[in-house]
Symmetry: C2
Subunit: 813 residues, 2 copies
């Protein structure tokens, strides 16, 4: 095994910007970080190898990823030099987040780790703990994780390094975000498009991102695409993405130190020049930002061969390069030789602390990347300055009147939130902001646009704050990066296509859940989704655009961090969004339609209703203080309208029937208080839904979710839920309801079929009533647009509680 790659570099033989002292120090720091990284993966005792390595020093089970780690450490060492020399405010996003041993080692070397985890001290005992805890039961994860100081990026799921990095850089003009993109990660779709983020970064107002494409050549088991296309192709690709790539390639550490130092100096000079031109010379054309291509062996400085097979420079070093170091003497000898090749005796003092020359390399205080406050965004978080949402109220003469696009009203509120928070609030959408009727935001700002503009363009600006790219992944990644560094945001999306970021939501929710348990992490602003253009109103687009399942996906995550709201009209939507924008540490999902729709509650009532999250709508109910015969539950704007219309039909037909209408804004109220902090107690739930009366519940999404949320409730057996059943196409809004049996007539039929009092009437009579409703349903479905009471073709957008119903059966009882 040849380890001379890590030899001492007292006398530099390669030209470059580093003087011998700098070179020596950087190399020592890198050796230390690599040594610690190997130790984290392999050892549980004898951390400084002060005695020969014995089986019991080695962990019984070896878990971790070595391959990418030395590269991450190499970059870290060099960034530290630059931070110190240039007094930079810098954070480091590591795309290959499985290289967890690296940043943990760095944070320990910088002292941050011991500051936040006192028992992992900078001494031999702390080192033993540092090693043992890594990827160990009760210890820390093997990936870069919320537990890792200095991280805003988990990296377990690959693809989001660049969008996170850009999100962090927006509105942080002094910040530089160094972002390593692994060549495995670079094959993912989200990463492949996120290079284009440079068309959305304003060099005047925003900070800088320095991408470092790390080509170590291999994924888990294969070469990577970008490492195996021709070098000129790669160069063209990156220039095509709008960057000026600088290649640093090799494996000889001394040469690589000098080359990388020279290159990063050149890049940082270029960043400074670009920012100066934008900030002082008024240049507005899009710059071609520098980036680095770093080509090194995978598992660099690790064993070159084990058992006759190539390890360094191969996919075999991806995880643990050899796994039997505890049981196999030869493997253990390889490990010991490998670790000793870093010469720990030069790196750590008698007590186990890093020697001064290593300590001196890293910056001090908040300038340490592991302690940079941007990477613990909560400490920088300032509350939004909020306008009074009540000022945007829609007047509601009487419940169930008007035809208002609720999200358009919301747009005016968001516009003014934007106006008051022009440095820490962004609104994002995948080309759907105006389609979702949030166009008023453009009165306060423009769309971010650094690419070429034309004279006839409208609403584009280099310093625009409405961010639109047709990539849900990029929007989500930007927003996460923005939130994690202590700012606020709002993401609107077509309901069906938010599934595109299901897995990104997962990771963010997991991050939030984990940080709840980490004392030194401060709460960040919530991630707010508005899902519009929803399942019931896909008149344009049909079946492919119909999927209300994101809610189901979201509620699988920890109740502590997720909230779901279905405001039925504009005033409840305003109240809900105001609440969400003030909240922290949640993912808030708000579903609201963009089409003209009936309004129900004036602002005072809306506030009361949203505060409770669920409630009886007395004005729509006929149970007047007594136990109802049936409860009509509803959640979502369209189901609410259909429910109210059904109640109206029933009121006309059966004046004696006691109907209670319960509307749900905060979906989590349905769950038990034991399951979710917003959950109703069983007593409260029973007071609304009774313990034994039929409940016909019309729900916005897949009906089984309501069962799932309520299956432990007293009256669950009596709950009959209607919702979306994957029936749909391009059709009228009313027909969509009929196809999925959630329309007013079907809901009325449900009542007729299930209410005991009505079952007193003969089967024949019931059949007659049912047929009458079916007939009426058919008539509206086919002639809706010609009914006199209907304003144009958008039948169900207008009528509601006041829907006319013949009253032929009023005396039926």
């Amino acid at each position: 095994m040849d380890m001379d790659g890590t030899r001492t570099m007292a006398a530099p033989v390669v030209a470059g910007p580093l003087d011998p002292e700098q070179l020596h120090r950087i190399h020592a720091w890198w050796r230390a970080a690599n040594y610690l990284s190997v130790g984290e993966i392999y050892l549980m005792d004898n951390p400084l190898l002060r005695e020969p390595l014995r089986p019991e020093h080695v962990k019984p089970r070896l878990l971790g990823h070595w391959g990418t780690t030395p590269g991450l450490n190499f970059v870290y060492a060099h960034l530290n030099r630059c931070i110190t020399q240039r007094d930079l405010d810098m954070i480091y996003v590591m795309g290959p987040g499985h290289g967890g041993p690296g940043p943990v080692a760095a944070a320990w070397l910088e002292g941050t780790y011991s500051e936040v985890y006192a028992d992992v001290s900078q001494d031999t005992a702390g080192l033993k703990k540092l090693f043992t805890q890594f990827s160990f039961p009760g210890g820390i994860p093997s990936h870069v994780a919320p537990e890792t100081p200095g991280s805003i990026h988990e990296g377990g799921e690959l693809g989001y390094a660049l969008s996170h990095a850009y999100g962090a850089a927006f509105d942080n003009p002094r910040l530089i975000v160094a972002a390593v993109v692994g060549d495995g990660e670079a094959e993912t779709g989200p990463l492949a498009t996120s290079w284009h983020s440079n068309k959305f970064l304003d060099p005047q107002r925003d900070g800088a991102v320095l991408p470092i494409l790390h080509l170590n050549g291999y994924k888990i088991a294969s070469p990577t695409v970008l490492a195996r296309i021709e070098p000129e192709e790669l160069d063209q690709l990156l220039r095509g993405y709008g960057y000026v790539p600088h290649l640093v390639e090799g494996s000889d550490p001394e040469r690589m130190h000098q080359d990388f130092a020279a290159t990063i100096d050149r890049c940082l000079d270029e960043v400074a020049r670009i920012q100066r031109r934008a900030r002082h010379d008024g240049v507005t054309e899009r710059p071609h930002w520098p980036m680095i291509v770093l080509r090194t062996p995978k598992g660099w400085t690790g064993p070159k061969e084990v058992d006759g097979l190539k390890v360094e420079g191969s996919w075999r070093s991806h995880q643990v390069p050899f796994s039997n170091a505890r049981g196999d003497d030869a493997h253990r000898a390889v490990l010991e030789q490998w670790m000793r090749s870093y010469r720990p005796e030069e790196l750590f003092d008698e007590s186990g602390a890093p020697v001064p020359e290593i300590r001196d390399l890293h910056p001090m205080g908040d300038r340490r990347m592991s302690a940079n406050p941007h990477a613990n965004g909560g400490v920088l978080l300032r509350d939004l300055r909020m306008p009074d949402f009540r000022d945007y109220a829609v007047p509601v003469e009487s419940p169930g009147t008007g035809a208002v696009e609720s999200t358009r009203v919301l747009g005016t509120f968001l516009r003014d939130v934007m106006r008051r928070n022009m440095t820490n609030f962004r609104v994002l959408a995948p080309d759907e902001n105006n389609s979702n009727r949030l166009g008023a935001i453009l009165e306060a700002t423009e769309r971010t646009w650094e690419a070429r503009m034309q004279p006839d363009d409208v609403g584009l600006g280099v310093d625009g704050r409405l961010m639109e790219i047709l990539s849900e992944h990029t929007c989500q990644g930007w927003l996460e990066g923005y939130l994690l560094t202590g700012r606020h945001g709002f993401f609107s999306c077509y309901e069906a296509f938010i599934h595109i970021v299901d897995s990104m939501f997962n990771q963010h929710a997991k991050w939030l859940k984990t940080t709840e348990g980490i004392e030194w992490r401060r709460p960040i602003a919530s991630l707010n989704y508005l899902l519009s253009s929803h399942v019931w109103r896909q008149d344009h687009n049909g079946f492919s655009h119909q999927d209300p399942g994101f809610i189901d996906h979201v509620v699988n995550k920890k109740a502590d961090v997720i909230r779901v709201y279905l405001p039925p009209d504009a005033n409840t939507l305003l109240s809900t969004v105001d609440h969400c924008l003030r909240s922290k540490q949640y993912v808030n999902v708000i579903v609201a339609g963009k089409q003209p729709q009936l309004q129900y509650l004036d602002m005072d009532d809306a506030i009361v209703h949203c505060t409770k999250g669920i409630g009886i709508w007395d004005w729509a109910s006929t149970d007047a203080g007594v136990e109802p015969d049936v409860v009509l539950g509803c959640a979502g704007d369209i189901p609410t309208m259909e429910t109210l219309a059904a109640a109206e039909i029933l009121r006309g037909w059966f004046p004696d029937l006691r109907v209670r209408v319960v509307n749900v804004v905060d979906l989590m109220r349905l769950q038990s208080e034991r399951e979710h902090p917003h959950g109703l107690s069983d007593r409260e739930f029973d007071a609304l839904f009774t313990t034994d009366r039929p409940v016909i519940f019309a729900y916005h999404g897949y009906p089984w979710l309501i069962h799932r949320l309520t299956y432990r409730r007293t009256n669950h057996d009596q709950m009959h839920v209607r919702g979306y059943l994957e029936e749909g196409t391009t059709t009228t809004p009313f027909d969509m309801c009929v196809l999925n049996r959630i329309d007013r007539f079907d809901l009325a039929i449900d009542v007729i079929d299930r209410v005991p009092r009505l079952q007193g009437i003969s089967a024949h009579r019931r059949e007659e009533l049912r047929n009458k409703l079916i007939e009426h349903r058919h008539y509206v479905r086919t002639h809706g647009e010609d009914l006199p009471e209907v304003r144009d073709w958008q039948w169900s957008a207008v009528p509601g509680p006041n829907t006319p119903a013949e009253n032929p059966q009023a005396t039926a009882l």
Copy 2:
């Protein structure tokens, strides 16, 4: 309004490959397609404008997308010329699938539409129907859809045009897939990485893909990134992706016809040359395939201005360029002028059929892109030649013994499926094939790899059939394209990260559901997922890799098309996969671990069990033909092991207790027969789970899914489900179970707490028993690796029903 862009072209004034007759015909065909497209969006009567346009001829509600359509039609016309001239076998993937009016018009012009929908005949009555039905209640979707002859690509959700196109081209050496990529779509992540598919296409064995990047400059409301970077950047980007781009730019139809014709000829010549070199000259190096960049105005040939605002060449033409053609005389005049500018009187004969010169342009029979059998893959589908899966059986001496990696066994079966089907079967994984233990496939084939190879590479081949790119999106897109064109495939993925393609699964499931109702569409092979590296065994990777929610996502789709299997060991896995590979029109989700685990059933028993999908495991039960005291249900390999271990503990402690163990392989058996074709009747369900005894159910995923599937069952109130609760980190497998309360000890505690017979013992005694179990749980959790009966640290991978249990309480009852 200036419409001279569509003027007659009798005498060509621009040089190019088209002679006057060809030019005239192509232009006429394009005019006809554009005319029909506008008619589809706007009209419901007077289809040939044989009388002045009146309000009642215009649809009351206008829905559809014009902007992209003329470009799609333009390409269609030119492809038709090439197909005819060169006798090409070609299909057409339209990324901007919202341009649905185009391909519908084309299919009608080619006669295919009337062949498959007899009432939409090639005459005036048919035309009226063609127009009226478009995006109309009871009609057809506004997007390219399964209903559209010639389509394998919906395009409602953007991003998959190229991966679908490549999937179609694999193993179809004579096929050319023309694929239009919209510049909106091009911003998505999945599309951005799918350009790299050219590193996985073998010019010898596979067909060709001809990408056409259509820059019409605008999305719904903004310019597009690729249209607004510098032309040289775009050129570099596409060359960096490995293509040779050919630009065709302009708006003058005559010039554009000649330029596009010349360019497509050049590209097809180059495709032929590449294929010849690979197939006859033995050249194996990766070619640089040609592609076209087509830059035209959005809404080309539409009105230039309406109400003083620019429409052609602007985002305003994205959908319906002006919307009040029914109510507003001026708008209606614009519409009429626009449609008449195509001169329909020259395009359609008296009867309403296309005139001969238009008919003559298109190819005949199967060569018509709208009738190409590859776009209705079921007609080409051949069953797989299957080895006998029983030959791969793992011997099982007695239930609950051994330590077998089930997926490794599966690998040998898949290897031999591959060997027998080397032209119509592909296996895909996002760099996880070997990690998922399917490495045996590499004995039959190599990894597909057209990029550069190095001497030390192993397992790569230009004609490899195992497809690995670190992009779940690309794997899924390739597979969909491959299946939709009539072949078979198998996709293995880490369980957590299959969420990355949640939305792609949605669209494929919707496609399958829709095609069920389309008579001329033939069934295609099922999409088979193996989800491994699952939630319970993320020892390496921890919390970010733990998410069993894909099942929840899947079961939201129509029961007709989805199946979910949780085989608990190798033989059940073999039987399941054999079944899935033979099936059609489903999405099959199979979840199975890759770690060494206990085996339970020999092959005969496994077949019986899988055929039933659910059953009592007598050998693990102690209810011997009588009603049990408690039912232990389980689904999934780890929950099954823990359940059996719990049964063993209970057997030791309470020899009299009648415990029934029910294992579920086919999850849909739990649902009612009314909800899912695989569902058990209530009688069958009650026979297994009783009507009143406690059921402790240990489930692989989120526990509420079991409630959702069973909430209407008689005994649902007695069902207590354990599953994954989003508790996890990097820890031992056993600790994962404990964190989520699904371990053997907690299951045993559940029984003690809930079984009435045991409740006869005193509260104090119960507390003692509970504490004993908790103590034991703690002991195993902390010392598991040192227990004598445990082979190495992987505690829970080995023991099972034979887990030792102290029997201190055996006399407790």
